[in-house]
């Protein structure tokens, strides 16, 4: 192989990144529009495009049926956008967790973040208080607060002087995770009539999403992902080991701190809308890495968008798979992500597992 070929291959690869991201964004937009057509009420495509056009002031409003408009704008659109936000946030958080921990099994469970959210949510469901804070339901606020508190708890227990070694972080995280899920189990046992609500929250779903939920988590998701992008090259270097990253000019402790806070913030924001949706944070980064390679500069944006697409499609399935049996029944999206995502991942993994064998 000639040397110029190596160089040009490299530059061709990196210059293709923008195109890949652009295509994925396009795919996401198409997914969102197609998903608007999915649901119990049959609304023809031209009407959907018309409704969307009306929202941005392009189409004469008189042509649209107001019932269909309400279904699309007030029910389907927020739900689909929630899928986009949650999918993006969980996948991005997964990239950050796996990068910082240098461990392919790392996700929001390792720092106890998911468990913290689960405890917060379960308590608030049990309390039965219909409290609304800035337009948000108590469950959402409690899940968010629980997630962030668990992360700080684990982080502070793990600290050795000014450093936070990954090993202690992992061990403390797992211990706290087990403890908190034990608390959730305890709450489930005494829950009585509320048990169904807790279980439903634990699997995750989008059935009650409103516009105000979107507005509440949007800033967290955007800030989280944009800020994480500042650290993509540091993530590459952290994969070489903390000492090596340090030798190559990374302020390791600060990078770790910022990245873990961002990942937990993203997770907390996501689960506060929809409960614990599994699989996305763990598997989407993997899946993307199999296809696109390990470089975080492209891995983070692509995982984020693929996570969004994946979750929107899963939610579509959640809405339709059960309709032949009971027209109004829908499955929790968390079940769909695992039921369909895991086999797909295994299929891909079988094909490309060589690159995983160390």
């Amino acid at each position: 192989m000639s040397t110029d070929e190596v160089e040009s291959t490299f530059f061709r690869r990196t210059s293709r990144w923008k195109l890949i991201v652009l295509l994925l964004v396009l795919a996401l937009i198409i997914t969102v529009i197609v998903s608007l057509n999915v649901g119990y009420a049959q609304i023809p495509f031209p009407d959907i495009l018309g409704i969307l056009g009306k929202q941005i002031g392009l189409i004469d409003p008189s042509l649209i049926s107001s019932q269909n408009e309400a279904i699309i704008v007030q029910i389907r659109l927020p739900r689909i956008l929630a899928g986009v936000l949650v999918g993006a946030a969980l996948a991005a958080a997964g990239v950050l967790y796996q990068g910082v921990f240098k461990n392919p099994m790392a996700d929001s469970y390792v720092l106890g973040v998911s468990a913290g959210a689960a405890v917060g949510a379960s308590f608030s469901i049990l309390s039965g208080i219909g409290f609304v804070f800035l337009g948000l339901r108590l469950v959402q606020v409690a899940a968010f607060v629980g997630a962030i508190s668990a992360m700080f708890l684990v982080y502070n227990i793990s600290r050795v002087g000014s450093r936070v070694p990954i090993t202690t972080l992992l061990l403390c995280g797992i211990a706290v995770n087990f403890f908190l899920f034990a608390v959730v189990g305890l709450l489930e046992v005494i829950a009585g009539d509320e048990l169904h609500a807790i279980v439903f929250w634990l699997v995750g779903g989008f059935s009650n999403v409103l516009w105000r939920d979107i507005w509440a988590v949007l800033p967290f998701v955007i800030i989280g992902i944009v800020a994480a992008y500042f650290y993509v090259r540091d993530l590459n270097l952290l994969a070489m080991g903390e000492e090596t990253a340090h030798h190559l000019g990374v302020n390791v402790e600060r990078a770790k701190q910022v990245l873990l806070v961002l990942a937990s913030l993203l997770t907390a924001a996501a689960v506060s809308i929809c409960g614990l949706v599994g699989f996305v944070g763990l598997m989407i980064p993997h899946l993307t890495r199999l296809v696109i390679g390990p470089d975080h500069r492209i891995l983070l944006p692509t995982s984020t968008i693929i996570g969004a697409i994946f979750l929107v499609i899963c939610d579509d399935l959640a809405r339709v798979v059960a309709t032949p049996f009971a027209s109004t029944l829908e499955l929790p999206v968390g079940i769909i992500t695992m039921l369909f995502g895991a086999p797909f991942f295994i299929f891909l993994f079988k094909k490309k597992k060589q690159s995983y064998a160390a």
């Binding site: 192989m1 291959t9 990196t14 070489m240 080991g241 090596t244 030798h247 990374v250 302020n251 160390a358």
Partner: protein, 461 residues
């Protein structure tokens, strides 16, 4: 003038009174050193003496509890990570790569300190990566995933990454562990070259004295967390220092070909609880060197002679504290020394004649062997090199050797055969010697050597 300008551009690393601790355990104590551009410093010391800790404190992994480390007069711990990474690169002992990056990706990561946050690799970065990968001979591996490379290839990728940082200081922590000998020399030649031409400072931990000796201008030797010796390599790498720091006997000599010091560590002396018996070596020109050490280790007491002072075998004997009958350098054996040698031989329970070359100067050593046989002392002749090739006495030596053969000296083909015979026949030897004593007592009672002492030792075996 030019020299002065050069000096002004040199980096300076100053380590002053550094003390590092893990908890309450001091792992580095009162370590000071100062290096500047073009220095190649070897860090030597046994396991746990603080070598790696010293590199860690310089590379800002382990902050010293006391003392300062200055990089160009700035406290290295007050500098930003990126600033340090532009000047200082580290090749660690072990590396693990998290995800499956290609070799080129990894070398390009060495450019990180020189890139802005959202900058992509430029043509210049690529050119540098290509240059260092060509230097380390891995450009052909550029697109291969790191996980598929061999240990040696990985190590060269890591070294290339360090060089891609364009550092002024390079810290190497046993960088050659995974490399075969050719790769070791290749990489070290490259580093040495950069050190000389680009005034790179190299601080390298070595376990191999000879590699250190070959490349380092100066060295520090650590013992129990402290500097035991520091300075020019030849002052530091002495057999006395090696003995007191590593507790190993070693021969330190200047090598004729490489012109650097070379070290031959000797395996720790096996302390036999008894002396098997005493063996007298008739040798010279290095033919007895290996045997001396082996026989000592086996528990024999060894004597040698006649050896000229300055002969290789003489120096070995000196080092191993073996009694020797000596003759002045480059002088023929005189009657007086020959007699002294015969006295020494008669103390021995066994005589070994090595494949030493014979000239008129040492022909008497052959006569000494014949005398030994005549006195009934079991005599082994190592006939490894045909006598024709080592006889420089126009056949006289050959004739004497034939005489030895006719007098029933035991001929063996090499040293190994001798050793295998010795291992089985020590017991028989004792019996043979007793028999000889009886015969000698009949023949010349007054000439019986002082055997009683030797036999009393033998009896224990």
């Amino acid at each position: 003038m030019q020299h002065e300008r050069l000096v002004a551009n040199l980096v300076l690393l100053n380590v002053d009174g550094v003390e590092c601790r893990y908890g309450s355990v001091k792992v580095l104590e009162d370590v000071s050193l100062s290096v500047e551009g073009g220095d190649f410093v070897g860090i030597l010391g046994p396991n746990g003496s603080g070598k790696t800790t010293l590199l860690k404190s310089i590379s800002r992994i382990l902050k010293p509890h006391k003392g300062t480390i200055l990089l160009n007069e700035a406290d290295i711990y007050s500098l930003k990570s990126v600033e340090v990474a532009k000047q200082l690169a580290v090749v660690p002992q072990e590396t693990s790569i998290g995800f499956n990056f290609s070799a080129l990706d990894i070398v390009l990561m060495g450019r990180n300190p020189h890139m802005k946050r959202f900058q992509m690799e430029s043509e210049k970065d690529m050119a540098i990566a290509r240059k260092v990968m060509n230097l380390t001979n891995i450009w052909h591996l550029a697109e291969r995933p790191m996980n598929e490379l061999s240990g040696g290839e990985k190590q060269r990728v890591i070294i290339a990454r360090a060089l891609a940082q364009e550092p002024k200081i390079l810290l190497l922590d046993e960088p050659l562990t995974h490399l075969d000998i050719m790769n070791q020399l290749e990489i070290m030649d490259l580093v040495k070259d950069l050190c000389v031409k680009e005034k790179l400072v190299v601080l390298a931990v070595f376990h191999d004295f000879n590699l250190a000796a070959r490349y380092c201008k100066s060295a520090i030797m650590l013992k129990d967390s402290r500097i035991f010796a520091a300075g020019n390599l030849t002052e530091v790498l002495t057999s006395e220092n090696i003995k007191s720091v590593f507790n190993v006997d070693a021969i330190v000599q200047k090598h004729l070909v490489t012109n650097s010091v070379f070290v031959v560590p000797l395996s720790p002396q096996k302390t036999s609880s008894y002396k098997k018996c005493s063996i007298h070596l008739i040798c010279g020109a290095g033919t007895g060197t290996a045997l001396m050490k082996i026989l000592l280790d086996e528990g024999y007491s060894v004597t040698a002679g006649v050896l000229n002072v300055l002969d290789t075998d003489f120096e070995t004997a000196q080092f191993l504290k073996i009694p020797v009958t000596t003759e002045a350098p480059f002088s023929p054996i005189t009657e007086k020394t020959h007699k002294a040698n015969l006295d020494m031989i008669s103390e021995a329970s066994l005589v070994v004649l090595t494949s030493v070359p014979f000239g008129f100067g040492n022909l008497q050593n052959l006569e000494a062997a014949i005398a030994a046989v005549e006195r009934g002392i079991p005599t082994f002749v190592i006939d490894e090199v045909p006598i024709e090739r080592r006889d420089f006495t126009k056949g006289k030596a050959k004739a004497l050797l034939e005489e030895l053969r006719s007098k029933c000296a035991e001929f063996v083909k090499d040293q190994n055969e001798l050793l295998s015979i010795l291992n089985v026949s020590v017991e028989n030897l004792k019996i043979a010697k007793e028999e000889r004593d009886r015969i000698l007592a009949h023949l010349k009672p007054e000439e019986v050597p002082k055997e009683t002492k030797i036999r009393s030792k033998d009896e224990k075996s």
